[in-house]
């Protein structure tokens, strides 16, 4: 009986693996693709973040306000408590300075115009200037 149950479970396992799907199974391009690779694991597919751990990116001044501080966060990371939508987040965000200027610009432009966000594009020229200036 146990062998039968195990055989059934193995079948389920193989079905599960073949049936598993990514939320993004369409062809990704530009900012959306870069977001999925570098940001989505923490900030999630719809920019909702994780309650108590990682802040949301939707309709918050830190994302849709003037872009310089947002560029700084991505290039140099963020330490210390930060408040978003009335919640305090303490976990450090790692710097993503390994991304190129155009990549940072594409990601931020995409974030600033997704999930209901409607903010101006970020240029790679501005990213380069801020990178040069340092944190």
């Amino acid at each position: 009986m146990i062998i039968l149950i195990r055989y059934f479970m193995l079948l389920m396992l193989s079905l599960q693996i073949s049936g598993n799907h990514s939320i993004y199974n369409d062809n990704l391009t530009g900012g959306k693709e870069l977001y999925a690779k570098h940001c989505l694991p923490c900030h999630q597919a719809e920019g909702s973040g994780v309650p108590g751990m990682f802040p949301p990116l939707v309709n918050t001044e830190k994302v849709i306000g003037q872009p310089d501080s947002l560029i700084r966060i991505v290039l140099f990371g963020l330490k210390g408590p930060t408040e978003v939508a009335g919640q305090i987040y303490t976990q450090e965000m790692p710097a993503a300075g390994h991304l190129t200027d155009p990549e940072v610009a594409e990601i931020l432009t995409w974030i600033r115009s997704s999930w209901g966000n409607k903010a101006t594009a970020v240029t790679s020229k501005r990213v380069a200037e801020i990178r040069l200036k340092g944190n």
Partner: protein, 427 residues
């Protein structure tokens, strides 16, 4: 069957230390009643004991039935809710708040309520009839490092005069920098000196300090806010939050492997045990502790992990075990006696795949060892079939506590709901 249950079955099958089928209850077995939105095995029912208390964490029930809920964000400026069911209808009708700091850990020990914030553990005397304490709280153990992740100093008591405090790791896997692509691990990891373990103290001695007075009881545990003393075998058990983000090493791990490989581990602890963090993670399919990529791991190398203690059971990755309870009541049927309930808060680190967890499981124990199949005991917290991101979940199971009548209380971290689960079937 939902993919969620399939994953659970698959990983349980691979990891089981005993030949059990690891079957959750089929939906047809469930009680069709409302049960406050939960699905439960036949014979069980639930009521909403309290609701909208804030961001709930652990909870504790006094032997007079009063319930205390820790809050991770102050509500009315206070960090603990106290609730009383005065007319004994299963629903709280009196609620008061006290203490000035947010908290997670909470337990009753004798006539005292023990509670912790991010740096200290306190206890306060409970009067015979008062719902909230009239006396000032006394610091029992402190000097713990404040930290920006895994901050909760959750704890448990052994009933024999000792307090065991979890100090989580202040990082994912002790790399420099933390959580950055390809970053190497610091070797040896200096974080192990003050973090990533369980520290033991006296439960009645005021003003103890982690370094001066604490005994490092176990180490190499990344974070285990799910910890409980098993009275039937007089031992400490914890369930670890396993590491995140193997995908930071894309030359070794695929996104799917990152989502599924590093198991949540269930540990039985003896004094002095070392469980492997940050050097190791546990592969639940191959049932082996492997070297982490920060320390040269390539998905196959074992290295120093051969010396780390193995889990007694492994669960699917990232499900976030947030509380553990060994059932000692007599209300539930015999198979539940001395068995383990675990609240899985639910994952975030499976993105872009569907998230997992968001339920309470039960594992029967005999002689202090798992002795039967894992079952999903209480489900339906999320309120949706498909959790893409944790924010989709309406409720998330967080804390567990046993009532004096043997009922099981479960708290939620999103809205501050508390369910009281009772057995009403025939035995």
């Amino acid at each position: 069957m939902k993919p969620l249950k399939q994953l659970f079955l698959a990983v349980c099958l691979g990891a089981s230390v005993i030949p059990f089928s690891c079957r959750g209850n089929a939906p047809s077995d469930k009680n069709p009643g409302d049960n406050g939105g939960l699905t439960l095995p036949t014979g069980f029912s639930a009521v909403i004991f309290a609701d909208k208390l804030g961001q709930g964490r652990h909870l504790a029930v006094r032997n007079n039935g009063d319930v205390f809920l820790a809050l991770s964000r102050l509500k009315n400026g206070k960090g603990i809710a106290a609730l009383r069911d005065k007319n004994n209808d299963g629903i709280a009708d009196s609620t008061l708040f006290f203490t000035d700091s947010p908290s997670t850990g909470l337990e009753i020990g004798g006539d005292f309520l023990y509670f912790s914030n991010y740096k200290e553990v306190y206890r306060v005397h409970l009067s015979k009839n008062g719902l909230i304490p009239a006396e000032a709280a006394v610091l029992i153990a402190g000097g713990f490092p404040d930290q920006t992740q895994h901050r909760d100093k959750a704890f448990t008591l052994d009933g024999a005069g000792n307090l065991y405090v979890n100090v989580g790791a202040p990082s994912n896997s002790c790399s420099q920098p933390d959580r950055s692509p390809g970053a190497p691990g610091i070797d040896p990891c200096p974080q192990l000196e003050r973090h990533a373990g369980i520290w033991k103290f006296r439960d009645d001695k005021p003003g103890q300090d982690q370094v001066a007075d604490g005994h490092r009881y176990a180490s190499g545990i990344r974070n285990s806010i799910a910890l409980a003393w098993n009275q039937s075998v007089n031992k400490l058990f914890v369930v670890q939050h396993g590491r995140d983000q193997l995908s930071l090493y894309p030359e070794v791990f695929s996104e799917k492997e990152s989502a599924e490989l590093p198991a949540e581990e269930f540990f039985e602890i003896d004094d002095g045990d070392f469980f492997g963090w940050p050097y190791c993670y546990y592969d639940p399919v191959r049932k082996i502790k492997l070297l982490a990529p920060e320390y040269g791991g390539d998905k196959n190398a074992v290295g120093r992990c051969a010396d780390a203690e193995d889990p007694i059971m492994a669960f699917p990755a990232h499900m976030a075990p947030n509380d553990l309870l060994f059932y000692t009541g007599s209300m539930f049927p015999e198979k539940y006696r001395n068995g383990a309930f675990i609240a899985f808060h639910g994952s975030w680190n499976r993105a872009p795949f569907e998230q997992e967890g968001y339920y309470v499981v039960f594992i029967p124990f005999t002689g202090g060892k798992p002795s039967g199949e894992v079952e999903v005991f209480a489900d339906g917290f999320a309120g949706v079939d498909f959790v893409k991101s944790p924010d989709d979940a309406k409720y998330r199971p967080m804390g567990l506590a046993q009532g004096p009548d043997g009922s099981l209380f479960v708290s939620d971290s999103r809205e501050g709901r508390i369910w009281k689960i009772s057995y009403t079937g025939s035995k």
